[in-house]
Symmetry: C2
Subunit: 419 residues, 2 copies
């Protein structure tokens, strides 16, 4: 009988413990939020380390630019006043780069989680070779880094949000971009380094864009107590992500969440993925605009605005097309809810503005098909994503979470923070 | 921005640490397996506690019956010979009770994970009131406990495996049993206590039976390196479970894995769950036998044996019925694989003997419909469950895992193990 309990690891050594405690102290200060004032004494009682140990860790975090300290604060207790500690609003930050079918969006998020710089360019990436798209994205990123520097923000890492199957630094396949086996991290990092001679090389990671949009929803959206949810984002493709108890469910190979390729009708239209009758063929942007009789030649974003306008005006074909997409979404979602039992289903991308017409039929399917009355229509468990839920911001915030989890790994002068 | 990192808990106190270390030492001895010989010195270097601390913990584990020690062992190093430690093969154990549609199966698993006693009774539970079924199961459990006592095994807890939505000790709904809101743990515990006056009251927990069959597959089956898999068990219903990185994925409310109620055809036959066209209506035992033209009046088990016999004999209707069920399974499974990205899909219950006819069409659907060539036909990722994968054994083993995780909570003389 195998053991499912946590494996018996070796005891942590001194270096591991110190790095862990740097993270603990940084997070403890950060969780006080911008309003409250953290003190060394407060952190000490919060995390259970001695006052002396906390002071030493705090000094290192200040020296490396992760914490700042300001004026005196009075705790109300006897003794010397402490100085107030805060997470730095300048210095280390995260860079997020979303490469999507018809736009590239880049943003910088500071250690507190605030979005500070954003640059978005609309352009059709479908025809271009991957290397060219990544080089263009690097160009936008370089300009964003210039803007960030003017605010004294220096991203210590970058994360790429990509609309496809992402694993081990590469895009295995992004059917809507036409990418196959593209070593995106390496190409992007190389292009960015070439644009910034002499600058420190930024470590780059990559992730599926729906996964990052879901994390942005979790961290910045209005989900409140919801910790487990299914996230769907309608674009040219239909992306999906699963968040369980606050953690992204990536699957065994990193490809989980491909709800756009769940089959609706086994004999339905061919899909770019090679199968037939995938959800994307019924509820993706192209299918939706076609069903509504809207020529998308002017670009997807304007097509969706036109669809929304017509639906508002009561155009029967537009309303019918959105309702039918909602029914198909609801049908596939009911299966996903039966499998996964989330607290909520969050719809983003093009579905956000279409919710008034999309949501009722989807909710009806869920109510009828989720087992044993576990889904009640109108319960609010089917909801639109918040504006904040975007993949570029999620990508930048992922870098910030990396920093919070192990500040020593990201310190400019890491020898000062090391063992 | 919310923090997705592990919450900052308080420091562990002495009692928590001692209980944790008791578990650590017990598991370290157990992981040596029956062949190897664990010594205090070996455990000490393995878990990183001092020799004195390990000795003190070992004494308590021996006194409470979790460990035994035998003859002298020579480590090959200088110094005194140690005594060999082993996990006790008598004393504390786990009791598993599976209540299914047409049978009840009870088993006892010892601390090493070996199944030691088993009693199964075939009986149709569909007509009977829940209290009667649970009382009958308690009767079988009481007789199994008597048999266990003859082997000096004394289960310290029981787990119920139930074919329905299980949460908070109750069956919310088990459509194929006809149960609604049945407080199964309480009723079973009461019935068992009434049958064993004067005996210690056994703590009882409960879980969905497919979840426990999946855990049995994980712990006792031939999955080897597979840590993430989808498990389907064909019975009168179609149960499912998701194991991700060695852990059961229970969902936000404990109802995850209901793959039997994923929709195949939105306008298909009515299902007991209230929806239409669920997978169960195409690949459940009743549907399968009906499609094959087999009268299931003689009981499900004999019906499935007859189906297997006819398929072996090349009966076209039987082979066609199983192949069609395989196609429907494959179609739903492809969606589930796109969502979850597991290493493998494991089919148990009635699907096991039918794999020669069921597996090829299911594998073809998976190959054609899982995104981007991530599933190759014949790769062995679609496989039959092992014989060992049964819910009663999984239930008993779950109790054993509970014991290993916190032996102090289960010690007969817990004051000896407590802080």
């Amino acid at each position: 009988m195998k053991n499912y309990l946590a494996p018996l690891g070796p005891k942590a050594d001194k270096d591991t413990v110190r790095r862990h405690n740097l993270s603990l102290v940084l997070r403890a200060v950060r969780e006080e939020g911008p309003a409250a004032e953290a003190t060394r004494a407060g952190v000490s009682s919060r995390v259970g380390l001695t006052r002396a140990a906390v002071s030493s860790l705090v000094e290192q975090l200040i020296a490396s630019g992760f914490l700042t300290e300001s004026g005196k604060t009075f705790s109300g207790q006897a003794g010397r006043p402490g100085t107030a500690l805060k997470v730095a609003r300048t210095g280390p930050a995260g860079l997020g780069v979303e490469i999507n079918i018809d736009y590239v969006s880049v943003c910088v998020v500071d250690l507190a989680g605030t979005g500070r710089v954003r640059q978005t360019e609309h352009l059709d990436n479908r025809g271009a070779p991957p290397g060219e798209v990544l080089a263009r994205a690097a160009g936008i990123a370089a300009r964003t880094l210039d803007s960030a520097r003017e605010q004294d923000l220096f991203p210590v890492g970058a994360a790429l949000a990509l609309p496809g199957l992402v694993s081990g630094g590469s895009v295995r396949q992004a059917p809507n971009l036409g990418w196959n086996q593209v070593p995106a991290e390496e190409v992007f990092a190389g292009a960015l380094a070439a644009l910034r001679p002499g600058a420190a090389v930024l470590p780059v990671r990559s992730e599926n864009e729906a996964n990052l949009a879901a994390l942005a929803e979790l961290w910045f959206g209005g989900l409140e107590a919801v910790r487990s949810f299914l996230y769907l984002t309608g674009e040219i493709g239909v992306g999906g992500a699963l968040v369980l108890d606050g953690e992204l469910l990536r699957g065994a190979h990193g490809f989980a969440g491909e709800i756009g390729h769940v089959v609706v009708d086994p004999d339905g239209p061919e899909c770019r993925c090679g199968s037939r009758g995938c959800l994307e063929q019924y509820a993706g942007q192209t299918a939706l605009l076609r069903a509504a009789g809207i020529d998308a030649a002017g670009g997807g974003a304007s097509g969706v605005m036109e669809l929304e306008r017509r639906a508002h005006a009561g155009d029967a074909r537009a309303v019918g097309a959105v309702a039918e997409a909602g029914r198909m979404l609801g049908r596939v979602l009911s299966g996903a809810v039966n499998l996964f039992d989330p607290d909520a289903v969050v719809l983003g991308g093009i579905y956000r503005p279409l919710m008034p017409w999309l949501s009722p039929p989807a909710d009806r399917e869920l109510t009828g098909r989720v087992v044993s009355g576990l889904w009640s229509g109108g319960s609010g468990r089917l909801r639109a994503s918040s504006v904040a839920g975007d993949a570029a911001r999620g990508a930048a915030a992922l870098v910030v979470q990396d920093v919070l989890a192990d500040p020593a790994a990201y310190a400019a002068g890491s020898e000062r923070l090391g063992a």
